[in-house]
Symmetry: C2
Subunit: 150 residues, 2 copies
Amino acid sequence: MCAPFDPQADKSKDEIELGTHFLPKFDSDGLIPAIVTDIDSGDVVMFAFMNEKSLRLTLETKEAHYWSRSRQELWHKGATSGNVQDVIELRTDCDQDAVWLKVRTRGATANCHQGFKSCFYRAAELQDGQTNLSFKEESPLFDPKEVYKK
Amino acid sequence: MCAPFDPQADKSKDEIELGTHFLPKFDSDGLIPAIVTDIDSGDVVMFAFMNEKSLRLTLETKEAHYWSRSRQELWHKGATSGNVQDVIELRTDCDQDAVWLKVRTRGATANCHQGFKSCFYRAAELQDGQTNLSFKEESPLFDPKEVYKK
């Protein structure tokens, strides 16, 4: 296991925003937001959080690891469903408080626990003062009840 | 001004995850994460947060509004730089606690305050136990010092 990431505290704005030293900033809960896109379509397929350990494991293994806030545990994505995400590239933003993963997803290639390719399968639109959602993916790629045995 | 969004509290998991009623979930600070991609390239260009008012204004005006955590104020993106983001589509994820905006950016088409097209202009890679960043965008589209008069 490598040393933990260096903190931003003693670094200048230019070092953080224009430097070549990875200085991920974790929030007060020790988490950093992770945006996940599909390497082929470019679509956003998931949004999750990482703690320091899951970010480190992601860089080391090139398989996406997150921190599950609902289960409060390290989460190796795809461990149950088989839909492991191979990380092709990992980027960070100007102030290094978010990461963007470009992934190729194994198995049924679903990234959402509902069986859809993307968690973002609905678009919102304001109509007559009410915001309604419409489905942008026709059907799930797997049956969640079958995969998760719920 | 329309009525505020309905809360998730009295809704079932199926209503939230498979329904057509927009029920955005704001965190304990009243914020929801917003992922922003460029409508043409599909690249992630920004990551920010919205409060209820900025999400409502975004849906009403179809121009991206955020909540600036550093300035603690409503933020009409592009108001200073001219790089307003026209929102082509707004999606939400399975549990409706994040949104994804597909935008077309006006002016110099830069989305980052550093003048880059995307805030995510650096990729991270583990090399010999250290994680280094490499630039993926060659040069900024505008000079931040000129645009923001800093």
